[in-house]
């Protein structure tokens, strides 16, 4: 279905998200931080990017900003994963250009529904 | 070097086929039988590495495709006079289940020659009479007559049990006197 980039420094989270998405027929590439993700995004084409916010080397907000600077990713849906439901984090993501967010903890169904929403 | 034949795979299906089948071998004038399901392979005799301070019936250990396996001398075990081992001597490699829930081991026994595979049913297997001190009765499952021959059927697990060595070590009699 879609090619999705999943970015999170927690391997277990990545595993869970990847497993869920693949189970629904998507193609998934994983990255452990913003730097890796950016490198992947440059050599590959993704239809959706899902990124954690708190990561070493480059956090999710900065990654979002950087991605929006790439010609191929100006309109691609970028979703941030955040543990806070506080508006501050959501807004920071949006200010950086993110499409929307998912609040942790989420269950696989919520993840799939959100991805579906964003792919149309 | 030594040749070896695999006798059987211990799969569930072959178990039912091979139940009550015994491989017999010769030691001197007597013929002994062992449950064929316990026989892993048969090898020719080759040199053995002795183990210091082991009882006389433990001949030593050999290299069985990368695993160290001990070899028992049944003549010593039974108190029969020993002979020279040569090219015709055979080693029967057995799967031994420990008595008392010990784990399974692979061990070999030295015999003069391998004889036949016989089918001996439960009824045909008779209790052996008490032979006194000559053979420890635990070692025998029973006796049977096949083709007019008397076969002494052995209980591998008791025969190859290493508890004897433990006991001997404790009493200090394993160490040969200086």
């Amino acid at each position: 279905m879609a090619r999705i980039l999943v970015v999170d420094d927690s391997a277990s989270m990545r595993q869970m998200v990847t497993f869920t998405l693949k189970g629904d027929g998507h193609d998934v590439v994983e990255a452990g931080d913003g730097v890796e993700a950016l490198a992947c995004a440059k050599v590959d084409t993704f239809q959706v990017v899902i990124t954690d916010v708190n990561m070493p080397n480059m956090d999710g907000i900065t990654l979002t900003r950087e991605l929006r600077g790439l010609p191929n990713y100006r309109f691609i849906p970028i979703l941030t994963l955040t543990t806070e439901a506080s508006t501050e984090k959501k807004m920071a993501g949006k200010a950086a250009g993110a499409t929307g967010w998912l609040v942790k903890p989420f269950n696989p169904d919520q993840l799939l529904a959100t991805v579906k929403k964003v792919l149309g | 070097m030594s040749t070896s034949e695999q006798v059987n795979d211990d799969t569930a299906s072959s178990e039912s086929v091979h139940q009550n089948q015994y491989l017999t071998f010769l030691l001197g004038d007597e013929e002994y039988g062992v449950d064929i399901l316990r026989v892993q392979e048969i090898r020719g005799w080759d040199s053995v590495t002795t183990i210091p301070n082991a009882p006389a019936f433990i001949k030593g250990v050999i290299n069985l495709r990368g695993t160290i396996v001990s070899i028992l001398d049944l003549r010593e075990r039974f108190g029969i006079e020993s002979v020279e081992y040569n090219d015709l001597t055979v080693v029967v490699v057995l799967r031994v289940k420990g008595t008392d829930g010990d784990k399974e081991r692979i061990m070999g026994v030295v015999v003069d020659a391998v004889s036949e595979v016989y089918h001996i049913s439960e009824e045909e297997l008779k209790d052996a009479p008490d032979l006194g001190y000559a053979i420890n009765m635990d070692y025998m499952k029973g006796m049977a007559t096949v083709d007019e021959k008397m076969i002494i059927v052995l209980d591998i697990d008791h025969l190859m049990s290493l508890k004897d060595i433990d006991a001997m070590e404790k009493s200090g009699s394993v160490l040969t006197e200086g």
Partner: protein, 704 residues
């Protein structure tokens, strides 16, 4: 779809425990007062990760507990709270509690609820009292909008005016997708409004000039509708009114909207400022390298490969011998003259060269494979700072820990098992070695004691040194205790080295008061046994008043051994090189008899017992004159002994095979190996040899 989350648990636990280590080591590094923001950030992120994962995978107690820690750390990192010693200590203890909670979750056992509650309360108290604001309750779901939903039952539907701002598409949102989402909750009809549409020559092709009037019928609530537009609240004008005329326009979302960034130029190329600079650490501390360049592999897979390589080494040795023969054959063939002969010789030589190359390849493969299981000893050393920190405050002593060689690598399994013995030795050094500050000053030493941890490779082994500048071992006391316990007799002429190493004897303890830190006398000999199980040795050297150095020697791997081949009787045996001090030829003049049967040898300044291996093995011919015989001097329990062998062969690396798998444990042998010619050679356990020798000696002398 239901997914079994438990398949991700192992990874979660692994990374959480790693996260806890990071938290602990960084907390120890944190300076009270200002506190380095980067360090706090690192600790925060670790806690944050654990919280996120715990929540996702259903470990709610862990998630809640971590949340409080996270809140505290958050305040510290944004400056609204200072870094106090109390807070740091509380966080350190919380890390311990968190560790037990995770272990309980992993092992499916119970956790000490009281302890958890207590620690939780302490953290909350800090949050409420000192500075900072009171901790928020764990984030509840966004209550940003007022509840305007009307009772769903009465409502037939909604009239939605959706006017997106021109830059809505820049966020990656797509109105069409939103309409599809609406279609999933009701019947949708839409009328597009083209009023704002720009001519092609004007405006930007990336901007959105359309607006819609939507009608959604069905049982969806207003909340459901608003949720569809949740993400684009700031990028549109939205009004949702009931078709039945109730309620008015939904209030504008009250969130503090970041100013809507205009047009396409909004994505300013922000400099990558967020990359935290890695703080250059002067002390030797293990740093977490990014995971990007490694993969996790089950250790059984690695062991499988190591086994296979071991087999390869054996096969290789067999071919080795053949290779030598081939060369000799080639020589003899070519010297016979003739063209065909020369050609044949060529073939044989090529074969022989090929085998030599194979040998090199195998050797390299083996080394490479061994390295897979090797990890830097820093994984063990990293436990020490915390230990030293806690112990020194407990004992009211001042101790500085200096670590070196932490990048030295050793086998993973060896490392897992060397931790406890090392901890015990460090405890011992701190408890009995280093003196209290006043005693130190009185002795002219600096108030702060120094504990040195050092590791390095030597030959095929790793050497670990634990050195303190404390009081050293009190030889007189040790000797007296040993005599009292019957371990030695008063007349035994023991060297200083031997006396010091008596502390490793079973049942030994000279602590005047059995301190709960390391007393009780079950410590040192257990340390020694644990290390022996890994194929290593431990010994101590000490100078009274100056300090002690404990030296642990360990083989680099468990499966392969460097051995000395010897012959006794008709068999070849292998003696582990790690146990051998030296080999020599016996000089008759240096042999002495003691108490009838025991023989000793004068090796330079000391007398060492002579052990005749033939006798130990019960072979005949064991009373011959030993002059010019070969003696291998080995180290057993810190003391040397000389074992007589018939012949010395070469040294080689052997693969250790178990005797116990199919046979049983043999007292004098630690295992077996398969030599190049396919035969079995037993590997000596020198400890066992000495024990058997002693037993025979006792029996012979008592019988005499």
């Amino acid at each position: 779809m239901s997914i079994d989350m438990s398949q991700f648990h192992e990874a979660f636990f692994e990374e959480s425990f790693e996260g806890l280590e990071i938290m602990e080591s960084e907390l120890l590094d944190l300076d009270v007062g200002a506190g380095d923001v980067e360090i706090i950030n690192t600790i925060f992120r670790a806690a944050h990760s654990i919280k996120g994962g715990a929540g996702t995978f259903g470990f709610m107690n862990v998630s809640e507990f971590t949340h409080v820690m996270e809140t505290l750390l958050d305040e510290m990192r944004d400056g609204s709270r200072g870094v106090t010693q109390f807070a740091v200590d509380s966080l350190l203890q919380s890390v311990d509690v968190l560790r037990t909670m995770l272990e309980a979750a992993r092992d499916k056992t119970d956790v000490d609820e009281e302890m958890v509650a207590e620690r939780y309360a302490t953290l909350e108290a800090i949050l409420k009292n000192e500075g900072g604001e009171a901790a928020d309750a764990p984030a509840s779901s966004a209550p940003t909008q007022e509840e305007v939903s009307t009772a769903p039952g009465n409502n037939s539907g909604w009239k939605i005016d959706f006017v997106p701002h021109p830059d809505l598409l820049m966020t990656g949102n797509n109105p069409v997708h939103m309409f599809k989402a609406l279609q999933e909750i009701g019947e949708l009809s839409a009328v597009v409004n083209l009023d704002k549409l720009q001519p092609f020559t004007e405006g930007s092709p990336e901007d959105l000039y359309l607006a819609w009037e939507l009608t959604l019928t069905g049982s969806a609530t207003k909340e459901d509708v608003l949720e569809v537009f949740e993400w684009v609240e700031d990028e549109c004008d939205l009004s949702v009114a009931s078709l039945d005329g109730e309620g008015k326009a939904a209030p504008e979302p009250e969130v503090v909207a970041a100013p809507v960034v205009p047009a396409a130029a909004s994505v300013a190329p922000a400099p990558v400022a967020a990359t935290p600079a890695k703080k250059a650490k002067i002390e030797s501390k293990q740093k977490k390298t990014p995971e990007a360049t490694s993969i996790r592999v089950g250790i059984d897979k690695v062991d499988e490969i190591i086994n296979l390589v071991g087999e390869l080494v054996i096969t290789q040795s067999m071919l080795d011998q053949a290779g030598d023969d081939l060369e000799a054959l080639a020589d003899s063939v070519s010297s016979d003259g003739g063209e065909t002969q020369k050609a044949n010789a060529e073939i044989l030589l090529r074969l022989s060269k090929g085998l030599a190359q194979l040998e090199r390849n195998t050797r390299e493969l083996q080394e490479g494979v061994m390295r897979i299981r090797m990890l830097p000893i820093s994984f063990v050393f990293s436990r020490m700072p915390r230990l030293v920190h806690d112990l020194s405050s407990k004992l009211s002593k001042k101790i500085e820990l200096v670590v070196s060689g932490e990048e030295t690598e050793l086998d993973k399994t060896v490392m897992e098992n060397i931790g406890d013995p090392m901890v015990h030795l460090v405890r011992n050094a701190l408890d009995h070695g280093v003196e209290t500050p006043d005693i130190r000053v009185a002795a002219g030493k600096p108030e702060t004691g120094t504990l040195n941890l050092n590791a390095f490779h030597q030959g095929g082994n790793i050497i670990i040194e634990i050195k303190d500048d404390g009081a050293g071992i009190n030889k007189a006391k040790v000797l007296a205790k040993a005599v009292e316990k019957g371990l030695v007799s008063e007349d035994d002429n023991l060297s200083d080295h031997e006396i010091n190493n008596l502390i490793f004897a079973p049942g030994f303890s000279t602590a005047d008061v059995v301190s709960d830190v390391s007393g009780r006398g079950v410590g040192m000999d257990v340390v020694k046994t644990s290390i022996a199980k890994l194929g290593g040795t431990v010994s101590v050297s000490s100078e009274e008043g100056k300090g002690s150095t404990f030296t642990i020697r360990l083989p680099l791997t468990l499966a392969i051994l460097d051995g000395q081949l010897v012959t006794v009787g008709s068999e070849s045996y292998v003696i582990p090189l790690i146990a051998i001090i030296e080999s020599l030829q016996v000089d008759r003049k240096r042999i002495n008899q003691v108490a009838g049967k025991a023989e000793v040898y004068k090796l330079r300044e000391h007398y060492i017992p002579i052990i005749r291996s033939r006798e130990v093995f019960g072979l005949e011919d064991d009373t011959r004159d030993l002059h010019d015989s070969l003696m291998v001097v080995v180290e057993v329990e810190g003391a040397p002994a000389g074992i007589i062998v018939d012949d010395l062969q070469g040294q080689q690396q052997v693969v250790i095979k178990s005797l116990e798998t199919n046979y049983r444990k043999v007292e004098t042998m630690s295992g077996a190996t398969i030599l190049g010619d396919g035969t079995v050679a037993l590997i000596w356990d020198v400890n066992g040899m000495v024990n058997v020798h002693k037993r025979k000696l006792n029996r012979n002398t008592t019988r005499a």
